[in-house]
């Protein structure tokens, strides 16, 4: 199993190494100037040289992303439960949420600065919350609603009430839907945080490090900050996957080996 896992890691790692090698070689051979596309080795030099600044920026931006993620998830799930439980809320809210979800919410970042202040982190967090909320709400609500009618009838045959049905059937049924939303919004939260930082907030964050370095034509340093941002996004995505595996053991069952037995 672990040997198989390790073997599965080889192709992407090899591809990644080849990609970086081609990048480095291509830039050198073609004589592309550093301000257009810095070499990976130059970016690495910036990454190590400015590590304290970048680490701090990555940590702070990560905190914005995670705090927005947590608030957005809690709000999305709570509202999904409420709309499922009380149909009138559902009929009014869901079409609206679907419409809002289709609009580019990060475009609101400058407006949020006006609402929540341009110097603090609140407006940045608000952008993340707004970006995270809608996919979580819509997917979770779908998972809570799309239950096989037989399963509801079965619970009713046990004289179970709506809350029991919610707890025993709807919520576990919604977990895979919620997990899909989580995979989507975990990296999205980092994107939202950085775009929000382009427009305002404290000056020691990834978004500002990228814009200020790019402003002074220090593109290798800007790329180093982008690399840090990617690492934060990947870490959040990996956490989402891990959470999915831990919370739904039944989805892994029977995948490995042949435990399905005939009658």
């Amino acid at each position: 199993m672990s040997a198989g896992r390790l073997r599965a890691l080889v192709p992407p790692l090899a591809t990644g190494a080849m990609f970086l090698g081609a990048w480095e070689g291509g830039v050198r051979l073609l004589g592309i100037r550093e301000f257009l596309l810095p070499r990976p080795t130059s970016i690495w030099a910036q990454l190590t040289g400015q590590w304290p600044t970048l680490r701090h920026a990555g940590w702070e931006t990560g905190r914005i992303a995670v705090s927005g993620l947590v608030v957005g998830i809690i709000a999305g799930v709570l509202l999904a439960v409420l709309t499922t439980r009380f149909r009138t809320v559902n009929e009014g809210l869901t079409p609206l949420a679907v419409a809002v979800n289709a609009t580019p919410i990060v475009a609101l970042a400058p407006i949020f600065n006006a609402w929540f202040g341009i110097t603090g982190t609140l407006s940045n967090q608000a952008v993340v919350v707004a970006v995270v909320f809608f996919p979580v709400f819509i997917n979770t609500a779908k998972g809570l609603a799309e239950v096989h009618p037989d399963e509801i009838e079965l619970m009713r045959s046990y004289a179970a009430g709506e809350w029991t049905i919610l707890r025993e059937v709807r919520i576990p049924n919604a977990l895979p839907f919620f997990a899909n939303a989580l995979r989507l919004v975990a990296p999205l939260s980092v994107i939202a945080a950085i775009v929000a930082e382009y427009f305002g907030g404290p000056q020691d964050r990834i978004g500002n490090v990228i814009t200020s370095n790019a402003g002074f034509a220090r593109y290798d340093a800007a790329w180093a900050a982008i690399a840090v941002a990617s690492a934060v996004g990947l870490a959040l995505f990996a956490s989402a996957l891990l959470l999915e595996r831990v919370s739904m053991p039944w989805r892994l069952a029977g995948v490995e080996g042949e435990s399905t037995t005939k009658l």
Partner: protein, 259 residues
Amino acid sequence: MNGDAVVVTEVEKVFGRGSAEEVTALSGVDLTIAPGEFVTLIGPSGCGKSTFLRLIGDLLEPTAGSVEVFGKSAHQARMDQDYGMVFQHAGLFDWRKVVANIELPLELRGWSKADRAARSREMLDLVKLPDFGGHYPRQLSGGMQQRVAIARALSFEPRLLLMDEPFGALDEMTREHMQGELLRIWSETDTTVVFVTHSISESAFLSNRVVVLSPRPGRIHSIVEVDLGERNEDTREDPRFFEASTEVREALRAVEDGS
């Protein structure tokens, strides 16, 4: 046991009353089922046999007439959890292991952990799946899942078992095997069974009485009495089984002809 298991009196069920799509699913239905009886409901699609079953289970309310289960209203019987239900779709919860699925109704009734474990072990033995308690439903075949569904329905020893085409999704061999198992369980537990099917041979093999329904609106066309005594696999080749099947088939033909 005193009184009848199920008494259905003058029941009518109309869906979408007053709307353009108003449908009378059942009309003027009377049926009395004795304790320990095995009754199947059969008829062409649209005859309201599933609706009939759901009225007995109080999953639907009749538009007119009354349904009594063990001398009380169907609603009270549902609240008292007097019956177990099995659907065509096994309806096991993916996120619960097989034992936890069987124990769900016991959990909802507040049984202790030890009592639940003891009962689910018994039930797994009853449906001959003693080694599969720790599996997840998706690791089992369709026939095995359906046996777990039956174990779940019987776990709290209901006096009535309502089954809605429980073997409809299974292949022929598995289906016949399951019919045998169901009869064995029925004789071991003296449960009353109401069983919906669209299979003529299944109805003839399983039941004491086959209730033949006619469609639009659903009515009881006729009732075929079957007495095959103790049944086993040889019964399927017994002339009396063919006779019963023929009688059910002729009743269904008469339904189709509208007589």
